[in-house]
């Protein structure tokens, strides 16, 4: 009889307190010190993670412990780098050049540095991205974006301003399958464009960002570093706010996802903050209803992917 009562109580408890793991999000895991490096850009090749270190005129490859295992030196203030198919694209803020860098094919061979030929000059390229035969560059002082598709024809769009389609010092850019995304840094927002340069979407204007310096776009989310506020904001692809990441973030400049792990490059603290995609909280639906905590409930749901 006692056993029956216990089972019955357990069933009643389970039914009355139905737990649904619906609140998934990015959770701070740990930090990796990258001693001696003040990272600005972060990129991934088959060999691993690369960081641009503008303060020290180099781009370095680091291992999982943050130790430097390779260094590309003699660069002039390298900024937001990108990688594709073993090639690194490095915008150099100091000399207005963007180079394609490829490591030597054999230990005896030399590395390859090719200056990207453009339709017009740059003034402080702050970010670049490549995707197959496409390349895009954020042209900081000119308040423009340069983009060349597979046909290698450049289009240039943007001008200084606050309106949709304008820029106020763009610092980073990302090419996706159908769009170009730009970190419009000192307008404190992100913008999405067609590959012809037509404005599609403005993101994060209501989030009080203070310098949206870096952007990363995954298959489902858009990330922006909020430099002065020491956080990374997460949006869905429609631009709806989802989450604010703050764990050990100190003057963040760029973001990267590698195998379901999110890395944030921290310029000031010489570190990478590591986040994993996890269940953040268990929402107890029935209890929420009983206590009429609807506002709190909605706040939690806001963090869903």
């Amino acid at each position: 009889m006692r056993t029956y009562i216990t089972i019955l109580l357990a069933i009643v408890l389970l039914v009355s307190c139905k737990k649904e793991p619906v609140n998934m999000g990015w959770k701070y895991s740990h930090s990796i010190s990258v001693k001696g490096v003040n990272p600005i850009g972060i990129a991934l090749t088959k060999e691993g993670i690369w960081l641009s270190d503008g303060d020290h005129f180099r781009v370095v490859q680091v291992n999982e412990q943050g130790e430097i295992i390779k260094s590309i030196d003699s660069l002039d203030r390298p900024m937001h780098i990108a990688a594709h198919n073993g090639q690194l694209v490095i915008p150099q803020y100091g000399n207005d050049e963007v180079i394609r860098f490829r490591e030597p094919a054999s230990p005896e061979g030399g590395s390859e540095r090719i200056i990207v030929s453009l339709a017009d000059s740059l003034d402080a390229p702050a970010g670049a991205d490549i995707r197959a035969n496409e390349i895009a560059i954020a042209d900081f002082y000119n308040n423009r974006v340069h983009y060349a598709g597979a046909d290698n024809k450049w289009i240039i769009f943007g001008q200084e301003g606050k309106l949709d389609g304008d820029f106020y010092y763009p610092t980073d850019v990302q090419i996706t399958e159908n769009a170009l995304w730009v970190a419009d840094a000192y307008n404190n927002r992100l913008q999405k464009f067609t590959k012809e340069g037509a404005h599609l979407l403005t993101v994060g204007e209501d989030q009080n960002m203070n310098a949206a310096t870096g952007i990363y776009v995954s298959d489902t989310q858009v990330f922006s570093t909020d430099f002065e506020n020491d956080r990374v904001l997460v949006f869905d692809l429609e631009g709806n706010y989802k989450q604010s990441l703050t764990g050990a973030i100190n003057k963040p400049t760029d973001i990267l996802i590698k195998e379901e792990v999110l890395y944030v490059a921290n310029y000031k603290s010489s570190s990478l903050s590591v986040f994993t995609w996890e269940q953040l909280e268990i929402i107890e639906e029935n209890h929420q209803e009983e206590h009429h905590h609807h506002d709190e409930h909605e706040g939690v749901l806001e963090d869903n992917k």
């Binding site: 003040n38 600005i40 503008g54 303060d55 203030r77 803020y93 100091g94 402080a124 702050a126 900081f140 002082y141 106020y168 010092y169 610092t171 840094a185 000192y186 203070n210 310098a211 310096t213 430099f227 002065e228 003057k251 400049t253 310029y267 000031k268």
Partner: protein, 208 residues
């Protein structure tokens, strides 16, 4: 004989190099608010545009900025400070070591108190948002005759100023702050002054 010739040529070369080095003035400027690499590298870039400039070096951590410039061009302290300010920065102190060894310095608070001085401390609102704003506001206020101390808090945008009432007024201080682009309760910055601020200093303007 061959060796003697080579040594002689090397000596001449060293002599020429040393002479060339003597013809350069050394400029050292201490700048606050270099926290953002985009702006800091921008300052460096703007100075690199000077023809003949050499060894431009900037330490973002300390704010130490230095370069060499041909002495024949007689670059003045005022011109250097103006160029730093044009790039959006506020120099704290500057030092020029001329090729002939003469040293020129600038910066620092020069307020002198007297028997008539009435020193008071007051808090006032000064709009801003970053380390560069902090440097600009504090240095501007410290440059006003009669002010002895100025500390601006980025979080609440409050400026604590200590000044001699016989030499300046709180209204005058607010006017100077507005002149360099930062809104105060009493005086709003002009559109031009606000627009001339570096990108990262563009705070939410006060409605007046």
């Amino acid at each position: 004989m061959k060796h003697t010739k080579i040594i002689l040529m090397l000596l001449v070369l060293v002599g020429v190099t040393m002479h060339a080095q003597k013809e350069l003035d050394k400029f050292e400027v201490q700048v606050d608010g270099l926290g953002c690499p985009f702006c800091a590298y921008g300052l460096e870039k703007k100075f690199k545009e000077f023809k003949g400039i050499k060894k431009v070096a900037i330490d973002i951590e300390t704010g130490d900025f230095s370069f060499l410039y041909p002495s024949e061009k007689a670059l003045t302290m005022d011109a250097v400070i103006a160029q730093v300010e044009k790039a959006g920065y506020t120099p704290n102190e500057a030092k020029i070591t001329r090729a002939d060894g003469k040293v020129e310095t600038s910066g620092g608070n020069t307020t002198v108190l007297s028997k008539e001085s009435v020193v008071v401390s007051q808090q006032l609102f000064a709009a801003g948002k970053c380390g560069m704003c902090e440097a600009r506001i504090e240095n501007t206020v410290l440059g006003i005759p009669g002010v002895t101390a100025a500390v601006w808090n980025k979080d609440n945008q409050q400026l604590k100023v200590t000044y001699d009432k016989s030499q300046t007024t709180i209204d005058g201080i607010q006017k100077e702050v507005a002149n360099v682009g930062h809104d105060t309760k009493a005086h709003q910055a002009t559109a031009d002054a606000y627009a001339n601020l570096p990108a990262c200093c563009h705070y939410q303007r006060l409605e007046q």
